[in-house]
């Protein structure tokens, strides 16, 4: 069953500025969807339109098949966790959680039961009689969460709920949020600019840029099968390395040309280039994840000297320069690489992504219809 459906959703500010443009999305029940993108990409705008806090310029919103585009927030059967928590400061924790329930025609006992149940779930039972100002940021966040869970919504909206917490707490809350989601099984739309957060929590990630959806996919899909240069560059730390290369067909083989190296493209890549030749001057970008570059003992694709080595404990990040561009390799912790050392680099060719340099689009093998 489809829990949430967005059809050509657009938001225009003033006459020219588009906050979101033609957003189409289907979210199935119990799914955890994460909107990911840099600030100003329209993810929060989209979420606020779903919540009914922002007027829709064009398009439709359907929740459980019912059109809610022009309904006020209270009639949409949703709940929301805000970035600033938005816990009401003049009410105790109990009152905060009970406030939305009071309108639901529940008895006092029912309300109290619900409040205790959700506060147990979020570990805030000892603080029910306190006021928000007597709580820490993490505890306030839990109150906001408990309040949102208590109403048992059809749709759970979260607007960067973890971004105001310190790094350590953020990682812990991430795990707890996921555990709570497993328990409540509520359909969730989660907005964040933190890709680690998105990767660790999402069933599917919606990547947005300039008000448009760029790619929708599972964390693995957006990571290993990025739709364009933006996604490949945005997801992953350190981000994907991009190497601009020329290519030429010679005697049946496809040769990749770079001022520092030349290489015969493996068959798979050659097929892609033959099937959809890139536009314009035909330059392509090789997108290689840092962990897909290997330091090997003998000369392979290219040889260079290292620029910087960042030891990380579990691994080390080796940076080197290629035509004025810094590339990074994610290498195992041993053997240790020294700065200035000459290294031989090999690519895992089956993991290399090809992009059209002009359009930034991914060049992919056409699916063979069986």
């Amino acid at each position: 069953m489809i829990a949430l459906q967005l059809e050509g959703l657009s938001k225009r500010y003033g006459t020219k500025v588009w906050g979101a443009k033609d957003v189409n999305l289907q979210v199935s029940e119990q799914e955890f969807i994460v909107f990911l993108g840099p600030s100003g990409c329209g993810k929060t705008t989209t979420l606020r339109m779903i919540a009914g806090l922002e007027e829709v310029t064009e398009g439709r919103i359907l929740i459980h098949g019912k059109e809610v585009t022009d309904l006020p927030p209270r009639s949409r059967d949703i709940s929301m966790v805000f970035q600033s928590y938005a816990v009401w400061p003049h009410m105790t924790v109990f009152e905060n959680i009970a406030f939305p329930l009071k309108l639901k025609k529940l008895t006092k006992e029912q309300i109290a039961d619900t409040v205790h149940a959700v506060s147990d779930m979020t570990n805030i039972s000892p603080y029910l009689e306190r006021y928000p100002r007597q709580l820490s940021g993490g505890q306030r966040q839990r109150v906001a969460l408990a309040r949102a869970i208590a109403v048992k919504p059809k749709l759970f909206l979260m607007d960067e709920p973890l971004s105001n917490l310190d790094a350590k707490l953020r990682v812990r809350m991430r795990t707890e949020l996921k555990a709570i989601h497993h328990r409540t099984q509520a359909t969730t739309v989660f907005v964040t600019h933190d890709q680690a957060e998105a990767m660790s929590m999402a069933d599917r990630i919606v990547i947005m840029e300039n008000g448009k959806i760029i790619q929708i996919g599972t964390p693995d899909q957006v990571y290993f099968d990025s739709a364009n240069v933006f996604v490949a560059g945005f997801i992953g730390t350190p981000p994907t390395n991009f190497i601009p290369v020329d290519w030429r067909m010679e005697n049946g083989t496809t040769r990749l040309l770079h001022p520092d190296f030349q290489f015969d493209a493996p068959d798979a890549l050659a097929r892609i280039l033959q099937q959809n030749p890139p536009s314009g001057d035909g330059k392509i970008l090789l997108g290689i994840r840092p962990e897909s570059m290997k330091i090997v003992d003998n000369p392979a694709v290219l040889s260079t000297s290292t620029l910087v080595v960042e030891p990380q404990g579990s691994h080390q990040i080796v940076a080197f320069e290629l035509q004025g561009q810094i590339l990074k390799i994610l290498a195992p912790p041993f053997p240790k690489v020294r700065e200035g050392q000459t290294i031989h680099v090999d690519f895992e060719w089956n993991r290399v992504m090809l992009f059209d340099e002009n359009s930034g689009l991914r060049l992919k093998e056409k699916e063979v219809k069986a």
Partner: protein, 435 residues
Amino acid sequence: MSRRGSRPGKLVGRTLFYVLIAGVVLVILTPIYFLVAISFMSDREAYDWPLPLVPGFFTQFRLELSDPEEGLVLLSVYSNAQGKFVSIAESADLEYLESFTRRKTNCTLDQEYLQAQIEQVQQKMGQNQQLLEQGQQSVDELKGKMAKINAELVKTTRKLNLLTGAAGMEQMLKDTQAQLVQLKAQKEELDKQIAAVENQLAPLRSVEFRKPKNLLANYVTFFKVSADALMALFRSLQVALLTVLISLSIGGLAGYAFARYGFRGKNMLKISVLFVRMFPGIAIAMPMVVILAQMGFYDQPLGLSLVYSVGQIAMTIWITASIFLGIPVELEEAALVFGRSRAGAFFKITLPLALPGLAASAMYAFIGSWAETAQAIVLTQFNPTFPVVVYQTMVGAKGMINLVAAGGVAMALPAVLFTILIRKYILQMWGGVRV
């Protein structure tokens, strides 16, 4: 080392800070103290110099018979400032004396009491007739001497004036000067003697008595003299509360709109509401007379509060807008998401949080319209507000400062009460809205 070096500097800094604070408090409190003190003083005290710091609770009287044959009674009052008795009235009419002392000293000397005192003095004088006559004789003698010395003094002074310019008379000049000094000493001596004898005689021919002062007399008098004062007080209260109501409901809503909504010309409008306050109230008051008269609100509390509201609304808009801005929109949005309508979110979430600020802005409006005088003088005729009554007392034919002070304190009281009532909220506002 550095800590030791900074310690005296810190001490000096802190001392200066406290001195400054004390100075500020003094500057604020001194006028208030004098206003309150004067409001409890009698007419005589209020015009005594130097002004007594504390109003007296009792008055020390002395009653003498200045002319027993005519039945003239001389009443004196002890002045702390001058350290002696000061005569305030001389009359044979006891009724006059009673009413005069009541007005002058806020003490009640009823006629029977005065009669009893007079009889006591007469009795005393009868008993000590011989002593009194002797004393009077010696006083007369001393006074005779005094007259001679005075004449001598005049002569010597003239001589001195003649000699000062002349040449070759140095010896004589010196002698004359010495003579003058001697004469002056003699005169002082005689003065003392006369005073001594009279002091001796005084208890023999006068009675002294203490009477409690009616502390609230000025207040009673103020409300009695200006017969309309009590009604004016109610009218002022009415005007002030109406102004608070009008300016808070209209200004508050406008402030909310300014804080929450974006619309064309918002900043222009924000500035332009302040323009209203740039015109002097008294200048607006003149045309307002005509407008209010046409509307039928001239000389009525509602009309006055309408005029005051014009200025107060601008202030209220600015105060409330900043208060609403201080309350995060998310709090309202959360209420919207969790089942409230826009109005519900405003009344359940925003209003309770804005209450401290609204209370403070209500206080501004209250005080601003409560104490306003200039426009009220123009806009009222037979139904003046309280400040107008106080003003009239001050500029009346007999401007008694103690009565004006009593009126002033009476005027301050409701404003102080109102502030105390909402102090909790005002103190909250000091720290801003806590979220």
